[in-house]
């Protein structure tokens, strides 16, 4: 799995951080998404998929 994000479209809702805290974080200064792990390990795949579904701005893209 490879994760890419479209930072410009991020609205800082924080849904990805709740769903997959090992893969996503938020910048302290503006709450915008930070991708911690571009190629998450298999045990994180479900949580990463959930984050992509939850993202209200659809800025998390997965290539599997």
């Amino acid at each position: 799995m490879r994760v890419t994000i479209d930072e410009d479209g991020c609205v800082g809702a924080g849904q990805c951080v709740l769903a997959a805290p090992d893969v996503f974080d938020q910048r302290d200064e503006d709450g915008i998404v930070v991708l911690l792990d571009e190629t998450p390990a298999p045990h994180l795949h479900d949580a990463t998929r959930e984050a992509a579904v939850l993202c209200p701005a659809l800025v998390i893209h997965l290539a599997e």
Partner: protein, 405 residues
């Protein structure tokens, strides 16, 4: 308007809830969702609008380009909706595109998962103190007045940096604003007082910045090269106050009633406190307190299902109906604390999804890991049938909640 471009309305916007289950959305949604999930309806405000009632369609449409939020709040459901007054600059929920992104980015730092987690001990202390006061009270307790309203209100005061000595008055006046049984003159006066209060707060923070949201917001906007005007700051402050207060307060009280009416679910929650986060998502889904959905103007044609929503028309995306769509949530009309409900629409969807959702979650999680543990025998002090619900306000809830134990 270009109403003639699309089919005529085939029904009325659903507003009547069932008498048996006041937690269910208006009964008309089910029929629309099953027979005509993208329908034209006549709204109480005297306009026709597209009504979208299915889960997938609600998500799709709220993420479409070609939608504008620069519309009167609840403009479809309120017969007195004002379509003539221009929208205030600084009204984040009524702005679009770049203007919205600018305001939102100035605020998102305040509502990150990390920052809100850090408020947990403060919120827990408020909850404990209010439960202590209820337990010690010799008067009848109203869970709305004595618990559900003051907690979110005091959290917002803390965030905004309202001085301690002013918090009682602030809370009292904002309580009036969110009440439905209040004399209109009293409401107008309370509204004016709160506006003046927030304006004074903004001016004070401009002169003497402290470690709080408003002060940081002022500084952040200045650093960005586009300072916020006093007017914008006041509107933002008021929006945060109202949005952060009324929604959570109603969720606390209404969820309490829902759990008391579903004792098997309450027992499971009590037996397994690890269920609290999922139970909170489920209560958000099941109760969908933003009861009339989201109202938008269509600015570019949007293809949706077999229809084309035309520029110049109005749209209502029903969050409550989407949250009861069985294609997304099996047995959607059942409250089930084990359900994985996090994909619910209660916070909306798209670029405007609730900015304060992490705060709402933490407040609700702390409340429901504490309330029934500290007061295990908590119960209604009047028959359930005598409870009165807020059928005509933006945010659904119970008007008062007499409890005993």
């Amino acid at each position: 308007m270009t109403e003639a471009l699309s089919k005529p309305s085939t029904g009325s916007f659903p507003t009547e809830r069932s008498k048996e289950c006041p937690f269910d959305p208006a009964v008309g949604y089910l029929e629309f969702r099953e027979k005509e999930p993208i329908a034209r309806v006549s709204c109480p405000a005297g306009i026709d609008a597209w009504l979208v009632t299915g889960y997938d369609d609600v998500r799709t449409v709220l993420n479409s380009p070609g939608l504008s939020s620069a519309v009167p709040v609840m403009g479809h459901a309120n017969p007195q909706a004002d379509f003539d007054t221009p929208i205030n600059p600084g009204s984040i929920i009524q702005s679009d595109g770049e203007a919205h992104a600018r305001l939102r980015r100035l605020l998102t730092a305040e509502f990150t998962v990390k920052r809100i987690q850090a408020l947990r001990p403060y919120i827990q202390k408020l909850i404990d103190d209010h439960i202590d006061a209820m337990l010690a009270s010799t008067e009848p307790v109203d869970l709305v007045r004595d618990f559900a309203l003051p907690i979110p209100s005091l959290v917002i005061c803390e965030l905004l940096g309202v001085p301690y000595e002013q918090r009682d008055r602030f809370q009292q006046q904002s309580g009036i604003l969110t009440s439905v049984d209040v004399d209109p003159d009293v409401a107008i006066q309370a509204n004016a007082e709160i506006q003046g209060f927030v304006a004074q707060l903004v001016v004070d923070k401009m002169r003497n910045p402290t470690d709080d949201l408003i002060s940081r917001l002022i500084a952040r906007a200045q650093d960005s090269g586009q300072p916020l005007s006093v007017e914008e700051l006041v509107v933002l402050g008021l929006s945060l106050l109202v949005a952060g207060h009324e929604t959570t307060a109603n969720m606390i009280a209404l969820s309490t009633v829902a759990l008391l009416r579903n004792p098997d679910q309450l027992d499971e929650l009590r037996a397994n406190p690890d269920l609290v986060p999922s139970a909170v998502e489920e209560m958000l889904r099941y109760l969908s307190v933003v009861q009339f959905g989201l109202f938008r103007a269509i600015t570019e044609d949007i293809p949706l299902g077999d229809e084309t929503l035309r520029a110049g028309e109005w749209l209502v995306a029903s969050l409550a109906s989407g949250n009861r769509d069985t294609s997304a949530f099996p047995n959607a009309d059942q409250l089930d604390v084990h359900r994985k409900a996090s994909t619910h629409l209660a916070f909306g969807y798209g670029a405007h999804q609730c900015l304060g959702q992490q705060l709402a979650r933490v407040e609700l999680q702390q409340v429901f890991s504490t309330l029934f543990t500290r007061i295990p025998t908590l119960r209604l002090d009047i028959p359930f049938e005598d409870l009165r619900f807020k059928d005509n306000t933006l945010v659904y809830g119970v008007r008062s909640l007499p409890v005993t134990w």
